[in-house]
């Protein structure tokens, strides 16, 4: 930021922030985001999604422009920024979709297909709220943080719940909450004003309580003897695990399906996290192993595959095929790993990308069609049958009932997505356990040494070939495991499901979560796979948002949402040396 100048210079800064905000809003309109979002309101008859977006942009930019003033208290500046934004947007609306320029009539819609009457109506509707948002941005600093933060958290929660209100309603219905209650909170696809107030109050109060008392609670915990703390920690983990196990029951079939999708990506993310996060090798063709796992499973189990002994039965079942698939995938990891051992950094990224594309093109070609089905893919992959169901029934007849009852209700129950969830959860749990144990092991430390400096690592006696191949092989195994479940989940697989975008998706979730961080992978998968899955109506802009998220994360928070300890320390150490002043963490963010 420029140092504090005279009054005029400051006002010019505010005006600039306002102009940028207004320009951004018009841009969002032309890209079509506002119109698509306009189909949704957050609070019924009060505020819609486009308005929330517009006000947030003006608020954020005005607040940033105000920050040089004493503690950000700058009502005039904020209002000015808001006003300029309104003038810019208003100017765009006033000029309209058709105008004359130098005697030539120009129809904006010939070029910008989104310059529709709806867009102008949307912009017109919230135009005059923009100065208020600016004013608020300048004035909000007068409110003490102890009140400001809970109120802000409450608003954020209202927007989130409002966005997901149709899903909240579905879950409430699934759990037999009386429809009369639900109707009071949620109507159509938005919160009712009453529901919004409730959400706001609950979250604001909770956040307020944490702001006021959180420090004391933490101190009290820290004062406990270590043994007790460890016990409490274990209890918390057990509680979380119970919560996760109960999830499919609570959520119902549709949302379990979404969770399954998230779970598959967590599995792949954990694998890529080993390759990229631990060992520092950027793999852009990671989807290849996913595809290989899926295809091997399909070929081994589908009755339509060339290996099937008869037209109505596959060669073997899921559980028999699983080890074979894993061996195939691990071998592939090693085979693809050997030629690229010498390559570093960017070259590695491009070669792996090339491998991924080659595998997809081969799967799609007529050449391998007799084996892999070409562009039509492989069909009729049998669903996964829970293991040992027969054994369970036998035991039940013998009278050892209780644990088996739980087992059958939870895992071998009739609802398919819910059942699959436990299999995926099991896979994720194993993968996470392996990753956690590897991280601190000799191999894990070798990977990290490799990531920091290959030559030094080699000088320290690390076997580069072995270490790198282990990373490829283990990463491939996780991805392949995910693939083996993917096929039976969807019944059929097509080469189109294994494009480069999947690789980028996995990479994005690892990055957003925080490279090298296992909790980060889960958070990243929930945010980048789960959320878009719930907001399908905006699917058109999914990748657009991905792009923004990737660039934004790299610019402002390269360590990720849940950074690993090492990454956090590293980036802070860099700050201290002044190498990366851009990433300086501060209260301003």
């Amino acid at each position: 930021m420029t140092p504090r100048g005279g009054g005029w210079a400051r006002l010019a800064g505010h005006a600039r922030a306002g102009a940028i905000a207004g320009g951004l809003i018009v841009f969002l309109g032309l890209v079509g985001v506002l119109e698509t979002f306009g189909k949704r309101s957050i609070v019924e008859d009060v505020v819609g999604l486009p308005e929330v977006l517009g006000l947030t942009i003006v608020f954020a930019l005005a607040r940033r422009a105000c920050s040089p003033a004493a503690a950000g208290r700058d009502v005039v500046g904020g209002a000015l920024a808001g006003l300029v934004a309104a003038v810019v947007v208003g100017g765009f609306v006033a000029v309209g979709p058709t105008f004359a320029l130098g005697g030539v009539e120009i129809r904006l819609r010939d070029m910008f297909i989104r310059a529709s009457p709806q867009l102008y109506a949307i912009l017109d509707a919230f135009l005059w709220h923009l100065p208020l948002a600016g004013l608020l941005a300048g004035a909000v600093a007068f409110v003490p943080p102890a009140l400001r933060r809970p109120a802000g958290a409450g608003l954020a929660a209202v927007v989130l719940v409002g966005l997901l209100s149709d899903h909240v309603k579905l879950v409430l219905d699934h759990n037999a909450v009386p429809a009369a209650w639900t109707r009071r909170l949620i109507s159509g696809k938005a919160l009712t004003p009453g529901g919004a107030t409730l959400v706001w109050l609950v979250v604001a109060l909770a956040r307020g309580a944490w702001v006021a008392r959180g420090g004391a609670v933490r101190a009290a915990l820290a004062a406990r003897p270590p043994a007790e703390r460890a016990w409490l920690g274990r209890a918390a983990v057990a509680l979380c695990a119970l919560g996760v196990i109960a999830l499919p029951r609570v959520l119902g079939a549709y949302h379990s399906e979404v969770l399954n999708q998230v779970g598959l990506f967590v599995l792949m993310g954990l694998g890529l996290n080993i390759v990229v996060g631990f060992a520092g090798m950027l793999d852009l063709g990671y989807v290849a192993f996913f595809a290989l796992g899926a295809y091997t499973m399909a070929v081994l189990t589908s009755p339509e595959s060339f290996l099937a002994p008869s037209p109505d039965a596959g060669l073997m079942g899921f559980w028999a095929a699983l080890p074979i698939c894993l061996v195939v995938v691990v071998l592939a990891g090693i085979v693809l790993g050997v030629p690229v051992l010498r390559l570093r950094g960017d070259y590695l990224a491009i070669v792996t990308l090339g491998f991924g594309e080659i595998i997809r093109l081969l799967a799609m070609s007529d050449w391998l069609k007799p084996f892999l089905g070409g562009a039509q893919g492989l069909k009729s992959i049998p669903p996964i049958k829970a293991p040992m169901v027969g054994l369970g029934e036998t035991c039940a007849r013998l009278g050892v009932d209780l644990p088996l009852c739980i087992y059958r209700v939870a895992i071998a129950g009739p609802d398919k997505p819910q059942k699959l969830f436990y299999i995926i959860l099991g896979g994720c749990a194993i993968a996470a356990f392996v990753a956690v144990r590897l991280k601190g092991s000799r191999l894990g430390r070798a990977w990290m040494a490799l990531r920091e400096d290959e030559d030094v690592a080699q000088a320290m006696g690390i076997d580069l070939v072995r270490t790198k191949l282990m990373a490829f092989a283990i990463g491939a195994a996780f991805s392949g495991l995910s693939g083996t479940i993917f096929g039976p989940k969807l019944v059929s697989i097509f080469p189109h499901s294994f494009g480069l975008l999947i690789s980028i998706n996995i990479l994005a979730l690892v990055i957003v979560g925080g490279m090298g961080s296992i909790a980060g992978v889960i958070v990243g998968a929930l945010a980048l796979v789960g959320l878009p899955e719930l907001l399908r109506e905006f699917a058109e802009y999914r990748l657009w948002v991905y792009g923004i998220v990737l660039v934004g994360m790299m610019l402002y928070r390269p360590e990720g949402l849940v950074p690993s300890t090492v990454a956090r320390r590293e980036l802070h150490a860099d700050d201290a040396e002044g190498v990366r002043p851009a990433a300086e963490p501060g209260p301003a963010r």
Partner: protein
């Protein structure tokens, strides 16, 4: 081990052509057509590859969004061409019209490239190497879907230019006029670029910065300015390539930049990244191999519908070159340790 592998690869590479030439499925005219088409395609790759190689030489980063810079140019070129065609100007002054379209396309591409550098890459110049690469992937997605949102996700068709219909007889070979124009324009541009880099002050400064940024700064070179100029140069080449691409393929769509971008990067690596003549040679080489490859190498091995594997050939070539000669055909001008 490496030698055995190389011999095995070589054996396959010889056996395929032997079979197909023996079978005589294609006449020599067919082969010539393949080669000319490959050269036209390759000169597009080369123009885009130059953008990669220039930026990589200076910043040591893969500007993954460069394919999108190319796409943005082709797309705005379409609007200019459609407007000129609609008013009848294109029919009256086809050359001026084409030039205007090219200027519009190149300016857009330059604008996008410079904005990219300013917003997405400059703040990250000292960050770990993976960081700008990931930013570039993000920028690529953002640009693609911004264009799809602004202009729609359908195919748009460039208007036909009457002068460029039909073919010319050159040395007794019939060559499509569009292909001839593309090859000629690309060669001309590449030669002037080479002269620019070798002989002008800016070109010298660019080479100095790519050699060693800090020392160049000490010598009084405005490093930031040179980096911006590099992006301008890369953007202009990509914009021109966008229009030339449209001359051959006629159509533009929001995700058209991805595949050529990837191929062009492959071409840059083939020629030796950071190496300007290398990118030109790599582009032409890749274009030709891709064009004759399916017929020459794969059909002889009895692979049906071999043209489907055209892209696979390009990537296999990339992998093979990186394994057996990681510095590319002409040798790279970048040392890993200095990066």
């Amino acid at each position: 081990m490496t030698v055995t592998a190389a011999l095995a690869v070589l054996a396959v590479l010889v056996y395929g052509p032997f079979r197909i030439l023996q079978a005589g499925k294609y006449s020599s005219e067919n082969w010539l057509d393949f080669i000319v088409f490959g050269l036209a395609q390759g000169s597009l790759y080369a123009l885009i590859a130059l953008g990669y190689t220039l930026v990589y030489g200076i910043l040591r980063m893969i500007n993954f969004a460069h394919g999108e810079v190319f796409m943005c140019g082709a797309f705005t070129g379409y609007f200019a061409a459609a407007a000129l065609d609609g008013s009848g100007f294109m029919d009256r002054h086809p050359l001026v019209g084409l030039l205007a379209v090219t200027v519009v396309a190149a300016s857009t591409s330059i604008g996008v490239a410079v904005l990219l550098e300013r917003i997405a890459y400059r703040p990250l110049r000292r960050a770990p190497r993976l960081v700008p690469l990931i930013t570039a992937i993000g920028a690529s997605l953002f640009l693609q879907y911004t264009v799809s949102g602004l202009y729609g996700s359908g195919l748009e068709t460039y208007p036909d230019v009457d002068v460029l219909k039909g073919d010319w007889q050159i040395l007794g070979i019939g060559i499509l006029k569009t292909q001839a124009v593309v090859i000629a324009a690309a060669v001309l541009i590449m030669l002037s670029l080479y002269a620019f880099v070798q002989h002008t002050r800016t070109g010298r400064a660019m080479r100095a910065v790519s050699e060693d940024k800090d020392t160049a700064a000490l010598m009084g070179i405005d490093v930031d300015g040179i980096i911006v100029r590099t992006f301008v140069l890369g953007g202009a080449l990509a914009g021109v390539a966008g229009v030339l691409h449209a001359l051959i393929y006629k159509q533009v769509v929001f995700n058209m930049g991805f595949q050529p971008g990837l191929k062009a990067f492959t071409a840059a690596v083939l020629g030796g990244i950071g190496n300007v003549p290398g990118a030109m040679l790599g582009g032409l080489f890749l274009g030709v191999v891709e064009s004759i490859g399916p017929g020459l190498f794969l059909e002889g091995l009895g692979i049906p519908a071999a043209y489907q594997l055209k892209d696979a050939i390009a990537f296999t070539l990339l992998v093979l070159v990186l394994i057996f000669r990681p510095t590319g055909i002409l040798g790279e001008r970048v040392s890993e340790k200095r990066a």
